[in-house]
Structure formats: C-alpha cells, structure tokens
Symmetry: D3
Subunit: 283 residues, 6 copies
C-alpha cells in the first residue's frame, strides 16, 4: 500500500506558526547581515542515521514559505527507508532563504522521521507475524495528525485519532459504570453505528465478559506472554486483540508470537528521539 | 532563583488547540456514554518515575477549560524534583470533565516534565562546576516557548529563542562571508546594540581570530576535551565559552571540568523521553 | 439515553465570530443610541412553533459574551420537545446587552432547533420500528459538529463526521477501483482496525458481493420498498443496513417497516427550516 | 446590473475551515485507499433542479485548495438561472482531489444557490412591480456576507448587514424610549451622517408620527394588504416603504401591488432549502 | 449624548496580540528577575498633558489578561477631558503583573487618547457652529474600529467605516464612469436602500449636477472659503455638505463659519500624536 | 549596509486583516457599481512630501491579495529617500482591484514611511557623530515588528523588540529591588548568557554604581547636556551610553555632540505623522 500524502492545508498553519516562532520580531539577524541578497546556493538534506523519512512535504513548505522561488528536488519521499548519508532532497535558490528556513524545516523533518523510524524498527522486528504496530493518543500537543501520519510512514497503523472516532472503555470507565457489562451497554445505546467499541481488560475473566457482550476489540494491557497467548486463544477471532505495555524492538517478537492482531506503543509518539538530518552543502 | 511562571495568555491558545484536537467533532464518546453527568470524582496526578516537574499550569488549564468548576490543588509546582509515586496535584470535580481532559493534560505535563527531567539530570551531573546547561533551537515546532521554559524548570538556562534575539555565526555563514573577520564585521554594522554576537569555531585558529574581533561568545563545537581546555585557557575570560556536541549525563562532568561557561544540548528539547505521569484515583 | 452537552470550547469561537459579524465595526447603533446604559430588563426566549430545542448553550453564550452579568435561567434544555408558546429560558440583565445579542442568540438557537425538530418529526414517524434516523455530511460549512449535535438532540444518530472516521465506498470509488471487490480489498489494507467500512449498493447483486467480503454496513441507495425488504432479508444480520433517498415523515414508516437498521436523511442538515423562536418581554 | 464577485480573501478562511472540518485528522480514508495517486478525471457540476447559481467561486476554491492543479471551466456563473441537468462547471484533474473536495464544494454551492433560487422565485413573482426583494439579519452564523451575496445573485437586494450600518428602530426600542419621537430623537444625535434611519411601525398612527420626524424608511410589519395600501399612500414618497411578514412567491404579487418599495423576507436566508447540485462523470 | 462603550469581544483579540508581541517567547525578563512574586503595588495612570481620554477599557483589559486579580478603579472614563496630572485610574495588585502589562496598556491608551484629544481640539474650535468633525478611512491598519471610537470619544462623529457601508464617489470613479451623471446612475441601481450616496466635487459646476441627481451628501474637497460659502448656499439644505482638506484647530473656525455640516479630517487618525500618559507610584 | 526585507509571512496576516476591515461584509460598493469588471488601469504611487520610503512590500501585497493579476513595478524601494512628486511604484491591472485596495495599501505605506522619514530626519541631523538613532517599545499595538523595520529603513537602529530580548532595569525595578546593586544581581542570576543588561540612571552617582557592576549599557534619561557629557566621560567606553528624552531634529546635534552611543526616541513610532503618498493616474 502506498502512503497517502496529507493535503497541504492540513499542515500549512503549523508550518507558518513554526517559522514565525523562529523569525520572531526581527527575522534572521545573522543571515541578513552576512549573506548577500542575491547569493544563490544548492544544498542537500542528508540523513546522518539510518531510519525512515516522514515530513518532507513540511520541510519543503517551510523553505517555500520563506522564499517561493526556492526549488526542491525530492530524492527519497516519505515512507522510504534511508541509510546514513543518504540525500533526501536537494534544495536550491536564495542562500538567505535556505539558511533562514533551515532550522524549522529540519525540526519538522527530524521529529516526524524520528517517529517513523521508531515505528519502522518495531514493525521490522515483528515482520512475518500478523501483528500490526499502532500508536496511541499520547502525542505531542498540536501535532497529532502529523505524528499519526508519521506512524503510517513508518509502516504502522493508527489507533483512535481522538476521543470521538471510537470508543475505548478503560478501567476508570468500568469502575464508574460498576462493571464491564453496564459500561458496554451504556455505550451501545449512546454511540453511532459506525463507531467501533474496544474494551481494556486486565484479566481473562474480564475478557470473557467482554466477549460475551460482542465488542469489536479488546485491549490486553500489560499481560504476560502466557496470559496474552491464552487471551488470543479465548478470543478465537471473535474480536480484534491488541497488546499494550512495554513493547520495544527487543520484546516485540515474543509478543507478536502470541498471535495478537495489534501491538500499541505510546513511546512511538511521545518519546521517540529524532532522526538526525542535516542541511549540507551540495558536493 | 525562583522560576517565573509564564502568563497564561502565552499558552492558552495551545491548550485550546490540543483539547480540540482530542475532542474532534463529537467529544468524548466513551465518557459521555458511561459517566453520569453529575458524577463527582477526586483524582491525583502521580509521577511514576523520578524527575522534575514542568507544565503543571497547562495541565490545570486543560482541566478547567473543559470544566471551569474543576478544582485543582497543587502539591509540587514546576521546578520541583519528584520521586516515583509523588502526588503532583489533586484534581476534583466533574468525573466527565476529569476523564475528558485527562489525556491532553498529561500530554503537556509529561512532555514538558520530560524535558525538565532531562535537563535536571545533566545539571545535576555538572553541579559544582561553573558550566550552565543550555538548550538550542532544535525544539518541537509550535512549542518553543514552552520547551525553553521547561529547560529553565529543570535548572538549565536558555540559548537563543529564535533567529532574531542574538547573532550566531555558523560555518555556513563564515563560508559565504569568506572568513570569520568579514562575517563578524558585517554583523557589527547590521545589528542593534542589545544583540550579543556568538561565533561557532571548529579550531583554535578560528578561535584566535574571533577573539581578536571582540565577540561576546564562542561556540566550541565538537571539540575534544583537550581542545576545550586549551580553548578556555586561550579565551581567558574575554568571551563566554560554550561547548556543544554529544553531551550526556555521563560525558558532562569531564566537559564541565574543562572550565567552559556553557554546555548546549540539542537532545533536551528534541529527543528527551516523557516523564511518566498518570491520573489515578485518590486513595 | 441523555444528551451529552458539547464542551463550550467547541463552539465559543463560532459564537464570537457570529457576534462580531453582527457588531461590525461600530456595534449596535440603534440600541446604543436609545437604550440607557443602566436599563435592566427581563425577557424570555419563547417558541412560536412546536418542535425540539437544540443550541441553547450557544444562545446563552452569545448573551454572556456581550455582557457577562446577564443571568440566564434555563426552562427547557436541549433535546426537550416544546409547544408553541413555551418559554425556553428567561434572560435578565442589561437591556443593551439583551438587544445587542438577541439576533445572534436566536440565529444559533432557531437554526439548530430547526434541525432537531426535523429530526424529531421523522424519528417520531418511525417510533416502534428498529430503524434509527441518521444524518449525512451534507451540512452547513463550518457548523458540522453543531448540526450533528442537533440531530442527536432531535433523537437521531450520527453517520460519519468527516472523511476520516469511517470508510464509505460510493459508486465513484467502485468505478475507479474496477468493482466492489477490489475497492473493498484496497480499503482493508489501507485503514486502521477501528475504522468501519460501509459500501453503497444500488442492486441486490452488488449487495451479494459486498456481503461476501464481510463489510460492516451497506448503504441501500434509492431502492424501492420491495428491494429494501429483499435486501434486509438477504443481509440477515450480517451487516448494518442503511436506507437513503427521499425519506420524509410521510414516507418514513413504510421504509422503516422493511426492517432496515438506519435511515439517512440529507435534508435534516441542509434544508430543514428554522424553528421560529423569539425574544419577548417577560409577562 | 452585473453581480460583483466577492474578493477571494473574504471567503478563503471559510473554505479552508470547511475543508478541514471534513478532512478531520486523517483525510479522505476511502479515496486515499482506493483511488491511485495518478488517476485523472474530468467531472461536471450538474444541477438537478431549476434555480439560480451562487457560490461557484467557493466551490472552485475548495477543489483548488485540495489540489492546485485541478482545472475548472465555468459554464454558468453566479447569478445565472439554470434548468435541471445544466452543467455549471467542468472540473478536471486528480481523481483523489476531486473526490476529496467534492462534498465541501457542493455544500457551499448548493446552500448558496438555494438562497439565490429562493430569492429568484420571489423576485420573479413580483416582476413588473417596483418592489425589490430584500433579506434580513436572520442568517446562518458565520455566513452572513456570503448569504447576502447569494440574495444579490438571486436578484434581490440587501437590508442591513449588521447592527452597525443602519439604524432600525423596533418595537422594543420604542417601548424603552417611551415612544417613537424620543426614540428617533435619540438616534439623530447619536449616529453619523451616512447612516440611514428606519422605523418599524405596526399602525398607521405610528406611521404618521414617524413621517413627521423625517426618517428615511419605514418597516410595515405584518400589515394587511389594505393597511399596506393606505400606508403607501400616506407616505407619498417621503420615505422608503418596506413590507415584511409571511411573504412567499404566492403572496408576493398582491403585496407588491400595494406599491411598497421593498419586501423583506427572513426565510430566504434562514430556511431556504438547498439547490440540488451533484458532481457527475463527464459524459 | 453619552459615549457607548465597545463590547470587549470587539477588542480582546487586539489586546491579546499586543501583549504577546511584547512578551515574546520568554516574558518580562527584567521584572521576573527582580520583582518578588508576592510583591503588591498600587499605581496610578496619570496624564502628563491636557486632552481627552479614550481606550481605558483596553488598558484595563491588558492588566487583567496578565493577571486577573489586578483591581482597577476608574477615575476618568473615556470621553472625559483631562488636565496634566489628572489620575485616570488606580490599578492595584501584583507588582509583576502591573509592570509586565504597563507598556501595552499605555500604548493603547495613549494612542487612542491622542486621537480623542486631537478630535477634541478641533471640535472645541468649532463649538457654536453647526459643523461636526468627522474622520476618514485613513486609519492605522487593524485599528479602524478603535480609532473611529476614539474620534467619537473626542466629540467627533464617524464617516464611512469601510468600503461597504456607504457610497463615496471620487474623482477616479467619475473619470472611469465618464461623468458624474453616469457614475451616480450606476450606483443607484447597484446598492441597497439603506446605503447613502456621497459625491466628491471639486467645482460648483460639478456640484450643480450632483444636486440635480438627488444625492445624499457632497464632499467639497479643498475648496476656498469663498467657494465653500457659495457651495453651501447652492445646496440649500438639499444634501449634507462636507468640507475636507487642510483642516486644523487654527483653520477650522473660518471653515465652519461657511455653514458646512461636516468637516472631515484625515490626520485625526493617521497623524495625531499620542497623549502622554504614564504609570506612576500612587502617592 | 543594505536593508533586509521582512519575509512576507511576517506581515501577510496583517495585510489580510486590514483589507477585510475595509471590505467589511459587502466589499467596495462604489467601485463595484461604477467600474466595469474588465476596466484596466495603470496608476502610480507618488509621494507628496520628501521623506524615506518603508512598507512598499505591504502595499504591493495589498493590491495582489485583492487581485493576483495586478502587476507592480517598484521604482523606489524601502530605505530610499524621496522628494515630493517621486514615483515609488507603478501598478497596473484591474481598475476595480486598484481602487479597492488603494486605501489599505496607502495606509500601510504612508504610516511606515512616516516613521522612516521621521527617523531619517533625526539621523540626518546627527550625521558625522557616533550616535545611532534607536526607537523604543512605544509602538502601535500589533505593528511592532513593522514599525521597528521602518526605523531601520529610515537609517535608525532598534532597541529591545519586547520584554524578553534584553534586560532594561528602570526606576520602578530599582525601587522594588531596594537599589541598583540588588537589582543587577538578581538579573545576573536570572537571565541567559545572550541577554544584554541595560540600566536606567538618573544621576551620576547611580551611574557609578552601575558601572562598577559591569552592565552592558546605561540609559541616561532626561539628563542635561552637561550631565550627558560627564556621564560619557565617566563611562569611558566601559558600557554603551544611551541618551533619551526630548530628542528632536533640532536638539539632536547638541546631544550627539556629548559623545553618546545611542539616542532613543519614543515619538518616532508613537507620534510620527504619516508621509503623504497618493495613488494617481499615470501620466
């Protein structure tokens, strides 16, 4: 499956804000004082680590919002695996524009590529298993649509985008409702026909109840491998199974081997380090 | 020195955006269906790891923008070091409001506390040395003012906030200007009297030139400990010395021991993992 | 099921915009010239037609954004059926504030109550049948979340909120994919586990294919009552059935009698007339 | 008189908002999964009912904001009367772009054309009389400038755009002022020289007073045909006469025959049904 | 006539923007470092020149947006004439808040009071004449509604607020139309019944034509006193007469003596110096 | 030094707001009624006074946002000194677009050129002295970045852009801290290494203290020429010296002759009259 790009109107306001936050009230003092207004330059966006690219459209837009005459030639689009030293894109045009937009372009690109790369590393670890890697709502405030996109670029899939596109009944909800059954029943009468219902279960007992009530998916939170295996068997295809808790490239294969459908990972979006990418002179 | 809180008008738009991004077009389907509208609750924000708190005002605002009647009692304010299990604040009021705002509140608080904690860990490692820990412009797009604040909460100090509040002459600028001297001269005539000038130098030769030209600070990028020591000696108090490149809690003490004034660290703001904080039932 | 109110941050920007659009650059010329600044008044929001109320929180906010000291006492909240002459709320305070905010408050309230009332009239017509009334994406630009909410207030349920919270494969998609099977297969590999898939079918043949592929819901567009009955029987509970096309209070009972699960109606949100509501002197 | 188009900066923010409200946080799931990225298409905007077109520029902008390479050929511009089946415009380019923008484009176009068509139907009914059809401030929140424009497209004229561009003294104002005379006198000293003054009168007695005071226009609210005729005679050209209340294409001719200058109609903007327009394959 | 205050929603966004423009990305460095967080203060807004106050509500809002606990006691409201040394308001509360908001509060207050004071000085000069002082559309970008309000505070009246609330036919329009007659005729058929029509005339010949066509007002641009007198006589009450060009407190009385209705002055809003107002310690 | 243009993203939102404030809800009534839609025109922006140009990019953007096909040929760019009658730019294209955008374009251009011209007049008066002319934070709310730019265009330099880019310790701060020494000490520990520190001193005694504490700059407020001379001598190059208070083209040379480094002038941005610029027919 090819990765669908986001329409630019979905991220243009963010790129504008980020540029303005860097330009402040006086613009790029250093570059304006030093670089002649007619100085032209060709530079390259180069990775310094292996990983997966995401966010190149935002980087391109950052350059072009500063100077619409800057030309960009994409070499490795979003979703592409890269090695250290790979050229992602060549940018050419006004030297002032390139240096002024550089940091904003790189901040978007390296942040989103960091998420894509982290996703890619876990996705790679479970290759051959049925499990898909999914992210959570633990995203950086303001960047959720972009970070969810970066997870897709890294080969992952998306869980809920917000509180409104699916039901996820958690322990707090169950406690307030007075049990899994009343929680699910209240939800059934309260949400539309296109909304799926997932329930977080901590024990196999809870799982049994949830399955009896015909929910769409179960979140198996922090279960041992043994419990996960039993849970998958107990579900028997009647619902989507999702494992969560402490999933890393190292622990992922064993978890995937239990046969779960999904493995959800919060740190992909809240704690993945950036992918180191620089803007170098073209050689 | 006490940590000055940011005025709420500086972050209210971000908290609103983050809430709306989570509420989407239909709000919290799960909570609205399950939690009675008059259900009241008292819950606590609890750390699950040691670290330093930052962003509590944003978390409080998230709760109160969803429901202005929610009451918050702060136990450990921004800048406080915490241990796993410490209660940061008690929040009480509408159960719906608490659960609806939970994720947004935690996303701000855990992200900013992650940065404060990372800063704190390096600051702690160099305690006793003159060196201050500073951050860079490698911040998450849209969150720069907040992330810089989190660095201060962690005991660090701030480098430039943008392209416009100080001059930082880097290798690209020097190359375009045709040397350190013309670069500095162009800057001197081009910027105001309240703008400090810093130059990035890679060698002691370059340093010598920069010092001759009377700049305010030198960025000693990726130098060995030996080079750093020589550079500090050569500067002899004529400029602020800043070391950068590969600084971690492990490597920091030796670098600080060279006598540099500042140690700048990009990963504090671009790659620090979150501080794990949860919203629990009050016991 | 009780109707969950929308958090005010979801509609406050719209109420502000609407007030500013009416205030223009000089405010309420007539009221400011005539009504003394200390003139106090008690007035009532009164329906002039039977219907269902929706949007009262927005009307209240309109008054209070103009003058925070205006007091509102709600008599009939959103979701309540009303008769001509019923008092919905009593508003008291500054006469200037009441008259200045009047039109904006009424424009929101009468528009959303119009949608709720239209929904209520069809929902009433199918009472006793399993069919739920749902709306479409044919909403007034900028008001989707509110109009979907008004449908819920009227006793209806919601279909997709946008292009991103469910899949709806329509004739154009099928044509481009080259058939129902490839369309569904492409979707299966391309969307997340919490996204339901609905397919629009025009014939029973197409329906057969769709059911074989295990989709979640079928949209039976513009079918005759006979076809609808056959379709429901053919589905046999394997998917949600949705009828659409020319549904009014008059035609609704017969369509509901075919046993469909859902009846979707575009005109609820794109063409429902307002519910006539006025602001009168309190008697 | 030709219809002046609105500058795009007056509606671009609304079109952006409407697109984002439909795209949500993930974009068009269905289209992205099914339609190949390089699939090109030519489609036509076709009316399914007779009416008058308004809002084509907004529909065009919706397509082009999603994909600037989409080409639009206008066949019937705003203000044109159309028959069922008429092609309004041909749009060609990226299949993804066309399907993603379709609903937003149609929502604007069919809503505004609905208003233009309703206006046109009443304007047609009074053709040959001096009376002009005007709209009110009972508009959809956020869309006033557009809906007023649609009234012009339908052959109508505009009443006040807001509270600030003319004075309209209504019954509440008169009651608070203690009579028509003090109300008008307060207004005369309180507003600028370019502001016209209109007074709502319910009886011929009130009308007499208002005329004595030299106002610019009188609003004859809910008067019988006989009263209207007497009022027009009594005015004798000394002020603009405006009839309002229960005006439809059926009642309009008799009202116009009384000789009033204006007939104002709230339902044109608050309750007109859409004009049914679709996006079809080009044949 | 009392001066109607503007609703706060009309200027709150501007006050927020102005505060953020001053706070930048780090807030008030000086005050935060020096003033203890619990330091309380009472200060006074004091004029240093005679003039007329306008904009106090904006100054108050600036303080309260920084710290909602700051208390303000208004001594001299908008529209009041003041002498040097008069206390306009007393502000008390957080010392940090007061010093942080000071400049923004004063910038609004002194700018708008400058306009009110300039208006007041000319209005005073023509006291006893029928002429009213009016402003133009030559306002500071973004501040038109506020500057027009300041003119009212100074005892002036307002001309057009924008291009859309009245017709003003200028020389360019006449040239393009091919004469005053076709210009006026095109306008008559093109605008609504509540829109007044004014024509700029340079000669008495043009004036004659304009009067024949029944326009509402004439702009007598840059005429000599003699021409003005003749023009007023020629008009004879058939239209509003407006003089413009080089009007100052010194030249105003003679111009007013010609009997014109209005004297419009661009420099009130584009070039009036501020009224000097300071924030002092309360004595 | 050449004047660096501001990137358009820094002022585009302001130009859009200003246009919308003039267009209101109905656009340019006069022009739309009179000027044929296909009428083309070539016009020139002409100065009517000598001065210095600033803001031409904003004027150009105003025209092009109304009609992107308008063509602009710049004759005298920002920073250029002009004489009365000089053509600044030629604009050609749609007559409607030119007349509709005219006032907004001129409002920006004449306001900013007014500031540049005022700055130029003082800068000219001190030519040959070391003193640079700087502006203050007494700017028009919302326009600070632009007005600071205009000062640069006029040959001046910029002081602080906000509360956050430098420390300026004023009398209030000193009073609260209990003296110059504690004020400076608190600041030293509280701000970053790239922030310069300036102290306002009223007496030579205070100056002595400040110099001992090693600050970067001293603000010599309202000192006599004799005091200024003594202060400059006392400083002896140890800090930047800045004079402020009552500086005009007439008083400036004597103040500059005292040897101060900077002369800061509030009225450049808060009270400079506009530079009179008009839009004329091209001859």
């Amino acid at each position: 499956m090819s990765l669908a790009p986001l329409p630019a109107i979905m991220f243009e306001p963010l790129v504008r804000s980020a540029l303005l936050e860097d330009l402040g009230r006086a613009g790029d003092l250093t570059t304006n004082a030093i670089v002649p207004v007619d100085h032209l330059k060709t530079m390259v966006l180069v990775t310094r680590q292996p990983g997966v690219i995401a966010g190149l459209d935002l980087a391109v837009l950052a350059f072009r919002l500063i100077d619409p005459t800057i030309h960009v030639k994409v070499e490795r689009a979003d979703g592409r695996a890269v090695q250290a030293g790979d050229v992602i894109a060549t940018v050419s045009g006004s030297g002032r524009g390139l240096l002024t937009a550089e940091r904003t372009a790189l901040n978007f690109l390296s942040h989103l590529s960091g998420i894509a790369s982290a996703t890619g590393s876990v996705a790679e670890a479970v290759r051959g298993h049925r499990a898909k890697i999914v992210c959570t709502r633990k995203t950086t405030p303001g960047l959720r649509a972009l970070e969810k996109y970066a997870v897709r670029a890294g080969g992952g899939s998306n869980h809920r985008f917000g509180l409104d596109d699916a039901v996820l009944i958690k322990d707090n909800h169950i406690a307030i409702a007075g049990g899994i059954r009343p929680a699910i029943e209240r939800v059934r009468t309260g949400v539309g026909h296109l909304v799926k219902i997932e329930v977080e279960v901590d024990t196999l007992d809870q799982l049994e109840h949830a399955l009896d009530l015909g929910i769409d998916a179960v979140l198996l939170d922090n279960m041992s491998l043994e419990q996960l295996g039993k849970a998958v068997a107990m579900v028997g295809g009647r619902a989507i199974t999702e494992a969560s808790g402490r999933i890393t490239p190292a622990t992922a294969p064993a978890i995937a081997a239990t046969g779960v459908d999904l493995m959800s990972i919060g740190w992909l979006t809240h704690s993945a380090p950036i992918l180191d990418i620089g803007l170098d002179y073209s050689s």
